[in-house]
């Protein structure tokens, strides 16, 4: 009996090791070319994405270039508590979240409305034309975009003030009004990206089966009813995924546009975490402090994303991962 089981397990062990070497040979060795294909990109990702993560430890150190990342002395949470107590802290958090929320509230519905309008446009030619024009601003570089904003809003010769004068209003020096900064930032962003953002909804709408619409038409449903009962439910999953992604970046206002658009007069209302990290880190060469702020921001971002994703999964059974 004993013998029998031993023999059996020994045999199965042999079979297993055979299986393993066979597996190893066919699956891994035969596919070595595939690993070679993946290698350059992986090496790249390792160097430029993972080595900086190792460098994150300087957030807990007093980094000195001469001592290097490893050699600099540990200081624990000094930089973090300094940041939390600094006068900038609440202003930075407020500006960052306010801009992003403003952006979501204004920017999120526009592509959906545009997509629905395009979807129901009865002339294919007009639809194509509107699409071509509205997608175009997406490819304008940030520098040119900000340049455009500045010339359009210029107090003397800008077209916006020219139009204001036409309708009898006083010209406004937009870029010198701190309370207008967020509005300028958000609406120019909607102008630039709403068309592009509508593509994904148009694709989803086009994928809705025609049977449902045909059945609805036979039942006498109006177009508005079809939008409400067929189209909106069908793009709901897409909307939720995009909303999660948007909320996940609640604390990450894009650096480039904010940095280029801000000036000394509107600084207080426009300084966000990413621009502050740049100024502290690279302009004042305060590496450790800047890294600590950046790390804090990144951790908050990940936490928000994971939380929103979890919540959404619970409520709607939809999520990113």
């Amino acid at each position: 009996m004993m013998n029998n089981t031993n023999a059996l397990s020994a045999r199965s062990e042999i079979r297993q090791s055979n299986k393993f070497s066979h597996y190893f040979k066919t699956k891994i060795l035969n596919n070595y070319v595939l690993y070679l294909f993946a290698l350059p990109a992986l090496v790249y990702i390792f160097i430029f994405n993972y080595i900086p993560i190792y460098g994150l430890q300087i957030a807990f150190k007093d980094f000195k270039t001469g001592l290097g990342i490893w050699g600099s002395p540990w200081v624990g949470f000094k930089h973090f508590s300094y940041f939390f107590q600094s006068i900038q802290f609440w202003n930075l958090i407020y500006n960052t979240i306010a801009i992003q929320l403003y952006q979501i509230i204004v920017g999120f519905p526009v592509p959906i409305i545009l997509a629905l309008a395009l979807h129901y446009c009865t002339s294919q030619k007009y639809k194509k034309f509107v699409q071509t024009v509205t997608y175009a601003p997406h490819f304008i570089s940030v520098v040119v975009m900000v340049g455009m904003i500045l010339v359009f809003l210029s107090p003397n010769s800008g077209i916006v003030n020219t139009l204001l004068k036409y309708i009898g209003l006083e010209p406004i020096h937009f870029m010198a009004k701190p309370h207008l900064f967020k509005t300028i930032y958000v609406f120019s962003g909607v102008w630039q990206n709403a068309g592009w953002g509508s593509i994904i909804y148009i694709a989803t709408l086009a994928g809705v089966g025609t049977e449902m619409h045909e059945a609805a038409i036979i039942d006498g449903a109006s177009k508005l009813q079809r939008v409400w009962y067929i189209d909106i439910p069908s793009i709901l999953p897409t909307m939720i995924v995009l909303l999660i992604l948007n909320l996940g970046s609640l604390m990450s206002v894009g650096f480039e546009k904010t940095f280029l658009l801000q000036n000394d007069i509107v600084l207080e209302k426009s300084e966000v975490i990413s621009t502050y990290v740049y100024k502290i880190g690279l302009l004042q060469a305060n590496y450790s402090y800047s890294t600590a702020i950046g790390l804090f921001n990144n951790v908050i971002n990940c936490t928000i994303l994971l939380t929103v994703n979890k919540l959404s999964k619970k409520v709607t059974k939809l999520g990113l991962f």
Binding site: T134, A136, G220, S222
Partner: protein, 297 residues
């Protein structure tokens, strides 16, 4: 009775749709058209707000100034080099790893994907990356403009999705039975079938390089390596004037002030020229990229 009521509602619906679309069209198109109008109008007319719907006293003065400015040429040359070399490497790396992770029989494919996706959500951030680039000796080195951002995880994912849906298992098996190896299969069979994704990747990466500003701002301080976007910032945002030679007398200064705004409009056009020419033809590829990406999302 009911029928006519619903159709009346539908007519109202259609009218609202057309109004909405026309508003969207005008709001987006007008600023773009205005830039063109202003750039070819007389600077005095632009400054005094006389250009609204039509150009006034057409003049190409601003363009003459722009093309005589050496910065525009250096910027253009540098950006073209960065874009061409950078895009080539981007596309090659992305296609290779994208194909590799699209293969279901690749052991460890999940691990590789997780290693990649992790970087989409977490990273070292500005300063640790800066220290790395500095220690690698890439600061003020034109190579940095080609190397940084060489691999976009998002693009790897759309590439993988594309390969998963176009290269069938039967094709692979048939090729293997005929004695074809992975390398030959990729270059001789997969690549010729992948023109669409190659076009999408090329365009995405090329636009990224053309518009790249952040890396240049941080890592490039020598003017001779400036990409176009940094020169554009000087001209459009920092208000540095175009063609500063012969600027010693007051008259020239006043003249420069006079045409400063018109030059900005011209510079916007000149810097976006390649895009303006290529955009209508390439538009479908941009859209295709979003569609392939959406399958995953």
């Amino acid at each position: 009775m009911i029928f006519s009521r619903t159709s009346r509602a539908d007519i109202a619906f259609d009218i609202i749709i057309y109004i909405l679309l026309t508003i969207a069209l005008l709001v987006v198109a007008y600023p773009l058209i205005f830039i063109v109008l202003a750039s070819i109008s007389n600077p005095d007319a632009v400054n005094s707000g006389q250009v609204v719907l039509f150009p006034k006293d057409i003049s190409f003065e601003s363009y003459k100034r722009i093309f005589s400015d050496v910065r525009i040429w250096i910027g253009y040359r540098n950006t073209i080099i960065y874009t061409a070399v950078g895009t080539f490497f981007n596309v090659a790396l992305t296609l290779m790893i994208g194909y590799s992770v699209s293969r279901k029989d690749l052991v460890g494919r999940k691990l590789i994907m997780n290693v990649l996706i992790f970087t989409m959500y977490f990273g070292g951030g500005l300063i640790p990356t800066y220290i790395l680039v500095r220690d690698l000796g890439l600061r003020n080195n034109p190579l940095v403009m080609v190397i940084l951002g060489a691999v976009s995880v998002y693009n790897i994912i759309i590439t993988r999705t594309f390969f998963e849906s176009t290269i069938s298992n039967e094709l692979l098996e048939a090729a293997f039975i005929d004695g074809c190896g992975n390398g030959i299969f990729f270059f001789k069979i997969v690549l010729p079938l992948s023109k669409a994704i190659i076009a999408v990747l090329t365009i995405y990466y090329a636009v990224g390089h053309w518009n790249q500003f952040f890396n240049a701002l941080i890592y490039i301080t020598q003017k001779k390596y400036f990409p176009l976007q940094l020169y554009l910032r000087d001209i459009l945002i920092a208000n540095q004037m175009v063609s500063t030679d012969g600027m010693n007398d007051v008259d020239a200064l006043i003249e420069m002030q006079r045409i400063a705004e018109t030059i900005k409009y011209g510079v916007i056009i000149v810097s976006s020229l390649p895009m303006l020419i290529l955009y209508p033809t390439l538009q479908r590829f941009f859209v295709k990229g979003v569609m392939i990406g959406a399958v995953k999302g």
